[in-house]
């Protein structure tokens, strides 16, 4: 793994306050999820997962068809679809539109897709003001930090951190009461909503048969973002498309429960086109940006393409024993947790962070909770194989490759395996107790790594096969 990855993991593990914050926040989310998908509350939970997986599989395997259907229906309802291959094209579109309309102020609701392309930075670089309106994202924007978690972006911050951030950036007296902090944000952001020229949102689902964008939230900031300004731009990855509005009956039952344990989040918006004739409010212009940004790289592999089924609920993060220790900022890209571990190497290439697919004990808890049944451990294992194949091609990691070559040879030559076992047992200290330290030259590599955290078992006097032979 890279030095950076190693360093970030170690420093997060060493920060006791952060460990407690991550662990308790994820525990809450995990427990609420479990409560709300229990047999007596959602008896058809497993069936819904199977159906959701089948719907996503079908949509991805026929993606071009559904994108085109989506586009036709957006246009039929008075909206417009723009396909963008990367962040530059997205910002070019937004900047171009803003210029044409004389727009200066943009309000944004939460969208991991826009984090992926650093949209705010690009827009601000060109003189637009783009304000995050989700409370957690707003705090992060002021602090110039990345989200810590897909659903709970400021999970790592305390009320004291928030108080300092608000005092520093908003020039308000230091306020540590959470309700009052929320009220401060509400009042600042309300002004922005009402003055904004453009509202930019993400989309949880793109509904092909309706040309509609579905947005799921608790605060109301996405509703305001998409209803108050005269222009609404929804930015979403191409993989978000689902075939029919009726499929939402399946997906919506899974999304909020998996994310926060709520049966439904407070607001579920189904938006299609600008306001219709006679409607009193709503935007005059409605755009949907369909973003590739590398998603087409994940499509060809028939097994790994299931990574694109993700509905960004965050359940895998909350249940992952690794995420719950190393937190969101240890990950090399905007997406963290198990889903981040499988999509990052596919978007960025395995050499971006070769250690990432290995930063997992393969416990399988993630796959068990994924509402769309992505087999995350399977994809991790395939990525591990990809990393090693790339290393072999580039002639890195030759020692490890050699070690496993020897392993395979030894394990197919039983007498050699036996002998190797006897030699190792003979060399190790044998007072019968578990081994705390070993002298040089043994305390290197994997042995040293093991011993840094725990004792080693004492080699037994006889192996099983010796004992068996002597029965």
């Amino acid at each position: 793994m890279s030095v950076e990855f190693d360093r970030k993991i170690k420093s997060t593990l060493a920060d006791a306050n952060l460990q407690l914050a991550i662990y308790t926040a994820t525990a809450r989310l995990k427990d609420k999820r479990i409560e709300n998908v229990a047999d007596d509350i959602l008896p058809d939970y497993q069936e819904l997962r199977t159906h959701a997986n089948a719907l996503k599989k079908h949509a991805i395997e026929n993606l071009d068809h559904y994108l085109e259907e989506f586009e036709r229906n957006v246009e039929a309802h008075g909206g417009k679809v723009i396909y963008c291959k990367d962040g530059t094209e997205v910002s070019d579109f937004v900047l171009g539109l803003a210029k044409e309309r004389g727009a200066h102020l943009i309000v944004k609701s939460k969208s991991m897709t826009t984090e992926e392309i650093d949209l705010n930075e690009r827009l601000e670089h060109h003189g637009l003001e783009s304000v995050e309106t989700d409370l957690g994202e707003y705090i992060l924007q002021l602090a110039h930090e990345r989200p810590y978690h897909i659903v709970a972006p400021a999970l790592h911050m305390t009320r004291y951190d928030v108080a300092d951030i608000f005092t520093k950036h908003l020039n308000v007296p230091n306020e540590v009461v959470i309700e009052k902090q929320t009220a401060i944000a509400r009042s600042v952001l309300r002004e922005k909503f009402l003055a904004a020229d453009i509202g930019i949102s993400g989309a949880n689902f793109l509904v092909a048969d309706s040309g509609a964008v579905v947005i799921v939230e608790n605060e109301g900031n996405a509703r305001l973002t998409t209803s108050a300004p005269k222009i609404h731009i929804a930015i979403a990855g191409i993989e978000k498309v689902i075939p029919r509005a009726q499929d939402l009956a399946t997906f919506l039952k899974l999304l909020a429960r998996s994310a926060t344990g709520q049966p439904l989040s407070v607001y579920t918006s189904f938006l299609s086109g600008p306001r219709r004739a006679g409607e009193v409010d709503g935007p005059d212009e409605f755009y949907v940006v369909l973003l590739d940004n590398g998603r087409t790289k994940l499509l060809p592999d028939r097994s790994k393409r299931q990574s694109l089924y993700c509905i960004r609920c965050g359940a895998c993060l909350n249940t992952c024993p690794v995420y719950r220790k190393i937190g969101g900022h240890s990950f090399p890209w905007v997406y963290s947790g198990p889903i981040g571990a499988i999509i990052t190497p596919q978007f960025m290439g395995t050499s971006h962070e070769p250690g990432l697919p290995f930063a997992s004990s393969l416990c399988g808890a993630c796959g068990e909770v994924c509402p769309v049944k992505i087999d995350i451990p399977k994809v991790l294992l395939e990525l591990r194989s990809d990393v090693k194949k790339a290393e072999a091609r580039e002639k890195h990691g030759r020692i490890e490759k050699l070690a496993f070559g020897i392993f395979a040879w030894m394990m197919t030559h039983p007498r050699i395996y036996e002998m190797a076992g006897k030699i190792a047992a003979a060399m190790a200290p044998s007072d019968g107790g578990w081994i705390r330290t070993l002298p040089a030259p043994f305390n290197i590599g994997p042995v040293a790594a093991w011993l840094s955290q725990r004792d080693l078992p004492p080699p037994p006097a006889k192996s099983f096969r010796d004992m068996w032979r002597q029965r």
Binding site: T24, A25, R28, D44, A54, L55, H58, E61, N62, L63, D64, H65, N73, H77, Y83, G136, I139, P153, A154, L155, R159, I178, Q181, T182, R190, L194, S210, A212, N218, G220, N221, L224, S227, R244, A245, Q246, D247, A249, T260, P263, L264, V266, Y267, T268, S269, F270, L271, S272, G273, R275, R276, G278, E279, V280, D281, F286, D292, T296, L299, P300
Partner: protein, 207 residues
Amino acid sequence: MSREHILHRVRTAIGRSAGQPVADPPPVRLRIPDVPLAIRISIMLSRIEVLAGKAMRSDDPLAVVAAAIEGKTAIASNAPFLRELGITTLPGVRTCITDRAELRDLCATCDVGITSADYALADTGSLVLLSSPQEARMISLLPPAHIAIVPKERILTGLDELFTVLPDPASQTSSMVLITGPSRTADIEQILVRGVHGPGQITVIIV
């Protein structure tokens, strides 16, 4: 244009050609439980209470609303139903606004927004509001309190029934919103705070 480029990449990756027909998607899955109206109402009422909203049945919604908005300013939607109930002529209530800017300014300053609802979902305690000339978006969004008056026949069992009676919301409206309780966040230390951007108080009167 990126459209052709992206669609081409997609097709190449999944092995399809332009215009190639698509096999049927997995069948739609809608399971509507058989729940009598009286039970739907009682489930709805208890779900809203769990969400820290207020909910009640009433034969005299006018009196309930009058008491709730006493001494406050309110904006009522243009739903004829509200006019028929006499709500739009209560003191402090503005209504019949058809100008977007005027409506927005009122919603931003009023204490209470009053709407009807197109449907309600019993199992989640949700209101379903479709934007229309009768029902504007901002009324249930900007004021810090929201009162919704719902005819009991509109209470459905849940999402499955909603998408059965309304399989194509886009044909009717630019905005359908499911409202499930008061606005909330737990973004800071996972501590729950209500009324972040949307209304912090929600009252549902079933008639």
